[in-house]
């Protein structure tokens, strides 16, 4: 039997001053070894009842809220320059193999620059405090230094690293919701075995097996006096991180090898939009 996946969605994205509202419906299936994706011809997104009717009102509210957040962010990073500011919100209804579910998503991406440095911030919701902390540190950054012996990774940094540590660090998949094939996501230990769930970032993308909503299991003791990596300065390359590090009054860029984690905080982790979802908690190398 051909498994057909359908999605109806509305989204709004604020992108460097422009607001774009998108409504669409699509379907994907695999037939005779060929992955096919196309807009849903019979039921245009504009009339589909499966998307909650409140979705557009919610998105309009998000735009108003975003404009306030943009203004607050601009004020909080007066000392730096915002290179890129993207915030999005969406509501989508999915249907496959007899299962129907609705998801809401929010994403914030900001890149701050203080040449030649660029700090990358990816969040699931606005957090002006994080942006302000990073902007302040970036403004005071000095020359590149050798990595400190001990370094803590802030939750927004460790969340981006976690997908590179699959199988190397004790982690679990956090249960809740459905995956890209309509299968429930259950809490289970992350192992070297193929992941039980499927990640489908869009209807036109073939789903791939992936661990969803991963979190590192706490262990060890974090040294609160160790220097803190507050932001990524580049995307993660394997387990190599180029980060902005704060050590007392000193702020400097440094490159660290994060293949060996010495401790993971017991504090409640926060979800970040990396790969199939990643919970960030303070870690120490």
């Amino acid at each position: 039997m051909t498994e057909v996946y359908r999605k109806w969605g509305r989204a709004v994205r604020y992108e460097n001053g422009t607001v774009i509202f998108v409504s669409e419906a699509g379907e994907a299936f695999e037939q005779d070894g060929v992955f096919q994706a196309r807009p849903a011809v019979e039921e245009p997104a504009q009339t589909r009842v499966s998307v909650p009717p409140s979705a557009r009102a919610d998105l309009d509210a998000f735009v108003a809220e975003t404009q306030v957040n943009v203004a607050q962010t601009l004020l909080s990073v007066r000392s730096g320059r915002i290179e890129r500011f993207i915030a999005s919100a969406g509501t989508a209804t999915h249907e496959t193999t007899g299962t129907e579910w609705t998801e809401e998503s929010r994403r914030v991406h900001i890149s701050l620059v203080n040449p030649p440095l660029r700090a990358l911030i990816d969040l699931a919701s606005f957090d002006v405090a994080i942006v302000s902390t990073i902007a302040d540190a970036l403004a005071r950054a000095g020359e590149e230094r050798k990595a400190p012996k001990r370094i803590r990774l802030a939750p927004n940094v460790s969340a981006a690293l976690l997908p590179s540590l699959l199988g190397e660090l004790a982690m679990e998949q956090t249960g809740g919701g459905f995956d890209g094939r309509g299968q429930p996501i259950e809490t289970r230990a992350v192992t070297h075995d193929p992941p039980p769930n499927w990640y489908r970032p869009g209807y036109a993308v073939q789903p791939v097996r992936a661990w969803m909503n991963i979190r590192a299991l706490p262990f060890g003791r974090i040294d609160p006096d160790a220097p803190l990596a507050v932001a990524l300065l580049e995307p993660v390359h394997g387990t190599t991180l180029h980060v902005l590090c704060v050590d007392g009054d000193d702020v400097f860029p440094t490159t660290v090898d994060a293949s060996h984690i010495a401790a993971v905080s017991r504090a409640e982790p926060v979800w970040y939009p990396h790969a199939g979802g990643s919970f960030g908690a303070e870690m120490m190398l």
């Binding site: 994205r13 992108e15 460097n16 001053g17 422009t18 607001v19 774009i20 509202f21 998108v22 409504s23 669409e24 419906a25 699509g26 070894g33 060929v34 992955f35 096919q36 994706a37 196309r38 807009p39 011809v41 245009p44 997104a45 504009q46 290179e83 890129r84 620059v113 040449p115 030649p116 440095l117 660029r118 036109a204 073939q206």
Partner: protein, 263 residues
């Protein structure tokens, strides 16, 4: 016997209407454009059948903006990890090129001879993206003229349009040209990037007489390194340019060029 097998097929259509800083986009279908794309795909399929040992991705984009309609067909042809971006009319020639080119192991020193139009990629990053980001000018050689107009472009109806290059054509007029004895001959590029924050251009060479290598230099260093050129612009097989996550085809032409001091 080699056989061609379809692996993926995607259709996407939509309409975007902009008022001021706000865009409304939906997946509305325009039968005329869909039909034009279907016809172009059918034509491209005839070419694909001849590319027996290649992995081919054909993309047809039909657009109408301010009553101007356009249909663009691009084909990414890959063999053994090397790829070119081409059009149906150039596909067979570029497929042959992929079979012809070979990496060698010459020492990494001397000048670089950018053959096969590959200097267009260097200039795409150093000149074209520099223009897109409106960065401070650098001193280009007086014999070099680069035509790289910027227009408002977007990858899909879901995207915010940006000022992007449509094409890049570099020409030389009375440029000096002496083939250096010690040189590396670059034939195919795997990718390139320009970072406006650091003003650094990165070029990943896929095929050269010294094998694959990566070069990172500032725009000013690249402009100063251009020491000669010869002949008419040659079409480079392919630049898919990615900026802000939006991938667009940029036709790219450059004469044979020489750079000094980049290795």
């Amino acid at each position: 016997m080699a056989t061609c097998a379809l692996i993926e097929s995607r259709l996407m259509h939509g309409v975007a209407t902009q008022r001021g800083d706000s865009i409304e986009a939906s997946d509305a279908r325009d039968e005329r454009l869909v039909h034009a794309c279907d016809s172009a795909i059918d034509e491209a399929r005839a070419t694909v059948a001849a590319l027996r040992d290649a992995r081919v991705r054909v993309v047809v984009r039909g657009t109408r903006e301010d009553s101007v309609e356009a249909v663009e067909t691009t084909m990414t042809v890959a063999i053994d990890g090397l790829s070119v971006v081409t059009t149906p009319s150039n596909a067979l020639g570029d497929y042959d090129l992929l079979h012809r080119v070979r990496n060698a192991s010459a020492p990494m020193r001397g000048s670089i001879l950018w053959s096969n139009g590959s200097a267009a990629v260097l200039l795409h990053e150093a000149f074209g993206h520099g223009s897109e980001h409106d960065v401070a000018p650098v001193a280009w050689p007086p014999w070099l003229a680069v035509d790289a107009p910027l227009v408002s472009r977007r990858e899909t109806f879901r995207d915010v349009p940006l000022m992007r290059m449509t094409h890049l054509i570099a020409r030389q007029t009375n440029a000096p040209f002496t083939l250096p004895e010690e040189r590396i001959d670059v034939q195919l590029i795997a990718g390139g990037a320009y970072d406006p924050v650091t003003d650094i251009v990165t070029i990943d060479v896929a095929v050269s007489s010294a094998g694959p290598f990566t070069m990172r230099r500032s725009r000013a260093e690249i402009a100063a390194s251009l020491s000669g050129a010869s002949g008419e612009p040659v079409r480079y097989p392919g630049v898919i340019c990615s900026r802000e996550g939006q991938e667009l085809y940029v036709a790219s032409h450059a004469p044979v060029m020489i750079t000094d001091g980049l290795l």
